[in-house]
Amino acid sequence: MRRAVGALLRKDLLVELRTKEAVPAMALFSISTFVVFHFGLDRSSLDGSLAAGVLWVTLLFAAVLGINRLFVAEVEQGGFDGFLLAPVDRTSLLVAKVLALLAFLVLVQLIAVPAFAFLLLGPSPWQALPELLAVLALADIGLAVIGTLVSAIAIRTRARDLIVPILLLPLLIPLVLAAAQATAPLLALDGAGPLPERWLAILAIYDGVFGLIAYAIFDFLLED
């Protein structure tokens, strides 16, 4: 299992490194979205819950771009057939894809979050950096798990570019809600407030429950 996951993950990262399809597009999209928010809201600096909302909505929409592309190579170039022929546990594909998507999200956020701090954020991002990283990490795990599941459901449909966002957004509303609520006090103008632990707990429960569901039903999406 570990070797299969390692091989699949290496393949995905290598493909991304060579084609540079997903991550640069997602990062560019995030920065454009910040500019759109600047003009849409007509504000030059944001703080508190508005800053948290703008940040999370942007990261969510950037994630949708990556999730749309996650299984394209598998379908178009026969990756699924090759994988199903190999004598490995099918869960390894789920784990590898979740890790690959997680890596993409982290890379995008390494660009998008500093860009957000530079372009739009009023208060200093340093005032609560460890807490912010904790929220980002927990929310990214949930995004990666649910994104992989939705991507695997949508990839075999005719209208997959349409199915991914309409399925994904309602499923991610509780996650974005918890992440934004947890981030809002960290970006307050008058010094960072304490991190609301219960929102971290909700994020962790969400990650855990959907991790188990994905583990239980992912095999059924691969049987043909």
Partner: protein, 241 residues
């Protein structure tokens, strides 16, 4: 399997219970001291909301059975349950909005966790039919729809918990406190209304199952008579047996 069996007495019982419920609502249940006549929408709004959520969950349970047994009839059961629950959920949103306008003065109240959760759940299940429709292979359509129904079924309680934590309570929490909730007359009326809507759901479910089964049998007979000349069935989101 015949789903038409017992449909007539069940339908009669449903009509009777619903009539009794409405009679109780208008002639027996006391007027709410605070909200007056408007509060009577409660006897429609809350039962159809509860039955819609139970219908979504039932769709998830049938979906689990479908994935375990591969019996397409379970997929049909799941499809019909979700499909009727979507209609009831839409009714819940509309009646909830009317009640919000009458008692809080605004058609939509974002501070109200139940209404917002219900909207999110409705938006998610509204994708069920488009998802089915965009998968052509029958067997795969059934399998993917079941996966969706299970994920969405698990999502329902989590979503309610998360949204409820985010908002201050302004919704009347009817059953939250033991003894301090509904007065007896209102509770009886509410329970009769809930039973009536529950029976309505079961009747509609059985009716649609019977109708779909009859359609499949008819198509099989036609095919046997006409051979291969019969035009293939229209592509649809509904499962076929």
């Amino acid at each position: 399997m015949t789903y038409g069996k017992g449909l007539r007495p069940l339908a009669a019982l449903t009509a009777l219970t619903l009539t009794a419920a409405f009679a109780l609502v208008f002639f027996f249940a006391p007027l709410d001291a605070d909200q007056g006549f408007v509060q009577k929408i409660f006897y429609v709004h809350v039962p159809i909301g509860i039955v819609a959520l139970v219908g979504f969950m039932a769709g998830g349970v049938f979906a689990i059975q479908h994935l375990r047994t591969r019996d397409p009839r379970h997929d049909l059961r799941s499809y019909v349950a979700i499909h009727i629950a979507i209609v009831l959920a839409l009714g819940t949103l509309v009646t909830g909005s009317i009640w919000a306008k009458a008692s809080w003065g605004s058609w939509w109240v974002w501070q109200e966790p139940m209404l917002v959760s219900f909207l999110i759940v409705f938006l998610l299940y509204a994708c069920y039919t488009p998802l089915r429709f965009s998968i052509e292979d029958r067997e795969r359509q059934a399998r993917y729809a079941s996966v969706f129904a299970i994920v969405a079924g698990a999502f329902v309680p989590l979503n309610f918990a998360a949204v409820r934590m985010a908002e201050a309570y302004i919704h009347p929490r009817t059953f939250a406190t033991t003894g301090g909730g509904l007065p007896g007359d209102m509770l009886i009326t509410f329970l009769v209304a809930l039973a009536g809507v529950g029976l309505l759901f079961v009747t509609l479910w059985k009716y649609e199952m019977a109708s779909k089964n009859a359609t499949f049998k008819l198509r099989a007979l036609r095919r046997a008579l006409a051979g291969d000349e019969l035009a293939p069935a229209r592509r649809s989101a509904a499962p076929t047996l």
